[in-house]
Amino acid sequence: MSLRVENLRVYYRTLRGNVQALDGVTFRLEDGEIMGVAGESGCGKTTLSKSLIRLDGRMQYIEGSVELDGARLPVDKQEEMNNFRYTEVSIIPQYAMSAMMPIRRIGRMISELLQSRGYDYQTILPELRRRIELVGLPENVLDRYPIELSGGMKQRMVLVISTLLNPSLLIADEVTSALDVSTQKAVAEALVEFRDREFVKSMIVVTHDISLVYQIADTIMVMYAGKLAEKASTEVIVESPLHPYTQLLISSLPEVGVRYADKQLGGIPGSPPQLLNPPKGCRFRDRCPLAFDKCVEEPPFVEVAPGHSVACWKVN
């Protein structure tokens, strides 16, 4: 088992109190699994990905445990996490390359990064070259500056850099959302390739775009308002979801291969609840067409079929 997250709770501190951005999340990620985390803005998907590697200043660890390959991951202790970051857990943030030193050549930057972690650049260099070729980047990319690369090239470069030490877990946070459709595909396929070659054991791909994770992920976890709504294999989530939110979300997405001459799709009325003082019970209750009395109690996230978990009273 690669990753086991138990009841993880991370809040944002604000003037008016805690924003319960990630409120008790429990899931497992198997070796070799690419899991897509999908949801709308504010659902907690980015909080989840950050809390597995680095909490930013306003984030506060409340409770929960994370286990990676059988060892506890000290997500609540920022200094101890340093031993795991990059070597065991790695992340590709959304605008990774923009955050990089613009005045360093990429090769030099990588060499400094490796040095800071106690690795020798020269011994890793052949493997680095091999992987650069694998993702279809030109050989001389190491001699270039980040600004000289296009968006898709940058993301592929960051993919190579962040997986150079073969981490167990890679988190890709909206890596393709700023890219054009045609470059998006190349980056997404590179992610799969790296998993297939076991450069990383497992992967969490965070995105707002379900159709993208449908293309590359083995499982999809749908989040809503800081909680898990549904997790199942990709096919099940897309073709036969059980949670009403997943169903409505999937049916609200226009597609390329369908004619819409006289049928209209419907959205989900209302908007997600405020997470400052979220209502008790099911957080989707107010927008849910199936809501009934029992929904004032919080539905447990339970397995209804092998590998298929749902948090909804109508399904349980």
Partner: protein
């Protein structure tokens, strides 16, 4: 109603303005009443520039933009104000479209100040309520609030309501839902469809092929400022001819079909089929060579109502992609 006649947009760049950068190259199409025309393209395709030229926020370098027969690219300020009575725009970022330090409903009162200074306050308030109901907003929920107190979807609807307060015939919608969440964006799209049904012409600028497919009657696919393929949405999406269109359609992640399946349907691995140039079937010549006759149209009618440009641009893109994969 709105007709773009071979328009160009070039910028002078370089230290002495001695280089020219072409953002839009020889693009023609029109938008009629009750019609949604999608301008689909990736970044740098010139789609936004075309929208801004129609709104006269950017000047036109060459060509004409005709609105009811008048070339609006040259009209003066007085006429321009009347043009804005008929043609309005909504932009991508709802939060940037409102001045953050004022209440959001100020946009309605700016319209009143400029166009209806003599309308009484109470009557104007009624008109605002009417427009808000037309975009399915509850006036009590959105009036008298600051932009940051409203959701992106509400703000975009208010901008559509703002346009409805005028006597608009054409709405330029530039990526208006790309920053909204999936569950709310479809409602704004449906709203545009309603306005279309009431006779409004909409220029729908987007990078998202799925949205264009959903909403539009006709589609223009742009690449690097060139309209590579255009026609009825159904035809363009079902039977793409230009290699770039094919690659684009093959790259969109779909929800019920994997990439490999789509690639097989589009025969993307059959290079000869992909690169086949419909344009040069009609105007024989070496593919990729610019038309020798300046009067030669930039696109050729492949089937009635379905236009395709020379395949050169698309082929280059294909090579880029193959190199990357």
């Amino acid at each position: 109603m709105l007709k773009l006649d071979r328009i160009w947009k070039t910028y002078k760049v370089g230290a002495f303005g001695n280089k020219e950068l072409t953002a839009v190259r020889d693009v023609s199409f029109d938008v009629g009443p009750g019609e949604v025309v999608s301008l689909i393209g990736e970044s740098g395709s010139g789609k936004t520039t075309i929208g801004r030229m129609v709104l006269r926020l950017n000047s036109v370098s060459r060509g004409k933009i005709l609105f009811d027969g008048t070339d609006i690219s040259t009209i003066g300020r007085g006429q321009l104000k009347e043009y804005y009575r008929k043609v309005q725009g909504v932009f991508q970022d709802p939060f940037s479209s409102y001045n953050p330090i004022f209440k959001a409903d100020r946009v309605f009162y700016m319209i009143k100040d400029q166009y209806f200074p003599r309308v009484k306050g109470s009557e104007w308030a009624e008109r605002i309520d009417g427009a808000l109901r037309d975009v399915r907003l509850d006036p009590a929920q959105v009036l008298n609030k600051f932009p940051h107190q409203l959701s992106g979807g509400q703000l975009q609807r208010m901008l559509i309501a703002r346009a409805l307060l005028l006597d608009i015939k054409i709405l330029v919608a530039d990526e208006i839902i790309s920053m909204l969440d999936a569950s709310t964006r479809i409602d704004v799209l449906n709203l545009l469809a309603d306005l279309k049904a009431r006779g409004l012409g909409i220029l729908f600028v987007t990078h998202d092929l799925a949205l264009g497919n959903y909403i539009s009657t006709r589609t223009v696919i742009l690449r690097k400022g060139v309209a590579v393929e255009m026609g009825e949405t159904a035809k363009v999406f079902a039977d793409p001819q230009h290699p770039y269109s094919k690659v684009l359609l093959g790259s969109v992640p779909q929800l019920h079909k994997k990439w490999s399946q789509v690639a097989a349907e589009l025969k993307l691995d059959d290079t000869a089929a992909v690169e086949h140039c419909v344009y040069h079937d009609k105007f024989p010549g070496e593919c990729g060579q610019p038309p020798t006759d300046p009067e030669q149209p930039p696109v050729v009618e492949y089937q009635p109502g379905h236009f395709v440009a020379c395949a050169k641009e698309g082929r280059e893109h294909l090579e880029d992609l193959l190199a990357a994969a």
